[in-house]
Symmetry: C2
């Protein structure tokens, strides 16, 4: 598939999803007032809509014939994703999200907590219309997000965090929703468990790669909207490049890295990157990204060729360079 | 129905519900760890289980033959209720709940927000297994809770709050879940819309009466676990007795009441009660309680006589004196 063609189709899907989300917020604002309006401002502030796009593509890949059937699940995952962002931003005391002021910075924490709850409820309202096994996939995914967030909090500024701790958190928090969205979509399309398991695995591998790229971008810097370089480092989040370097570096270098992380400042950035290069940590994570993306690609093999499958492959190819 | 007999049956129901909740937390703690354990501590710290009991009774009243069928809905409403308590306690900065330390006071706000989310997810996971119209009742109810909480926050310390503002909040936040639980249970039992509407109305009337009694107890004091007298007044919550008095009192008395509420201290309690007696506000609310309870009773008329109906009537009779 040509790059231009893929981009055009994915952009068209994003526009369609945005239209559904706008219509939802428009309708709900009439009923629920300010909580819907404020939640809608965050929801509609942009975003690539990668999660709902993947749900739609998974459904089509699995032979689903009626996109309307799977759209509520696609929207549900975007709503739940936004709910977690709203609550995360309170915990991280972030002032902006997607280039807009966060709810808690404008309306206070109390309203931000409630707005997040409201977004969760909208997501579950949409997802709850499917049969029990699909609802279970979604509910287990969301419960696991919460569990992983607990672990993540426990490892803030914990220099002894292991790669295993890290992967547990990433699988639960970032990769889990990709996985559950793909799995649920295949179930709704009525394809076999072999196929839903394969796409659950696909989502997991892609999701891990996605987070690893995020970790790299936090250090290398990029154009991500509203997230400055080093945000994770400032928050004390133990990303994999840091964990890897803390494990490999010795004596003075290890001590210096610990000291830098304990009280990070902008002027330490060059030194941090030098230390990470001493331990080859950025290359290590780059190789891991490729491994996870290869395994994601592998999981697609049992599906027949289709435009949807080609688009999914295109997404995989772009996650490494984070154009998607 | 004899009082002793009713109490014994309701107590037996509570014990059964507790057993289900304990088993749920036991199972989920294995999977989700600390977030499930901490959430479980609040969930299992006691409580009358009035919401799930009403769901079970509504189902039986409507001719439902298999309590197992409705139990997930009953538990869902208790889980969602507890989720809102966990998040409310953050916003109210409450240190204890049901006689136990609150999650945020022990583990910090970040974990308390996430634990509340986890409880919501468990509730929706259970409620999401029903057909779409039942899920819609639950989702609308939860979205309305959030909307009403926004309004409640807007009226903190707002001496111009009207009885209409008040009722909107109470219907959404307190009465809504009673109403939705009863309505959903009748739908699951397969009874007509006439019957589900009647019990939705029953739950609404009972729920409003329940909140009005709560308002009275906040001023008159009682043995409510973990909630000291005057807690609402200290938090600046505009309860109906206060709203009524602010509307009826004139000149000096109105000014004095405003001043007392603006900076409440324990030593003002007697004076506050004197002012409320001048405007007859406590009697006014007591009469309203009776009116709502009568209308609740009225809504039960279209149901055939049954033990479940007698128990529901018993609950109505006890809400006035808040033994239930």
């Amino acid at each position: 598939m040509e790059e231009d063609e893929a981009l055009a189709i994915l952009d068209q899907m994003r526009i369609e999803i945005d239209a559904y989300l706008e219509a939802l917020i428009e309708e709900k604002s009439q009923i629920y007032g300010e909580v819907a309006i404020r939640s809608g401002e965050v929801l509609l502030a942009g975003g690539k809509r990668l999660r709902p796009i993947m749900v739609l593509l998974a459904y089509e890949m699995a032979g689903g014939q009626n996109p309307e059937e799977v759209m509520p699940l696609a929207l549900a995952f975007e709503l739940i994703h936004t709910a977690t962002l709203v609550h995360d931003d309170i915990n991280d005391q972030a002032d902006t999200r997607r280039g807009q002021p966060t709810i808690h910075s404008q309306a206070g924490e109390a309203k931000a907590i409630i707005a997040g709850d409201w977004l969760f409820v909208q997501g579950f309202g949409l997802g709850g219309r499917y049969r029990e096994e699909v609802v279970d996939v979604m509910a287990n995914c969301c419960a696991q997000i919460a569990s992983s967030e607990f672990h993540q909090l426990d490892h803030i500024m914990d220099l002894t965090t292991t790669p295993e701790d890290y992967l547990e958190v990433v699988k639960g928090k970032t990769a889990g929703p990709f996985s559950a969205g793909c799995e649920g979509a295949v179930m709704i399309a009525g394809k076999s468990k072999l196929h839903s398991d394969a796409l659950a695995n696909f989502g997991l591998e892609l999701g891990v790669a996605f987070q690893l790229v995020d970790d790299l971008l936090d250090i290398k810097g990029d154009m991500r909207m509203g997230k400055p370089r080093g945000a994770d480092v400032y928050e004390g989040k133990m990303t994999l490049p840091l964990i890897h370097a803390l494990t490999l570096l010795h004596s003075d270098e290890r001590v210096r890295l610990g000291a830098i992380l304990a009280d990070f400042k902008d002027e330490y950035f060059e030194e941090l990157i030098e230390l990470l290069q001493r331990s080859d940590s950025l290359s290590y994570v780059e190789i891991l990204v490729e491994n996870h993306l290869e395994r994601a690609m592998e999981s697609l093999k049992i599906f027949d060729e289709s435009e949807a499958k080609n688009l999914m492959k295109y997404i995989v190819s772009k996650v490494g360079s984070r154009h998607y």
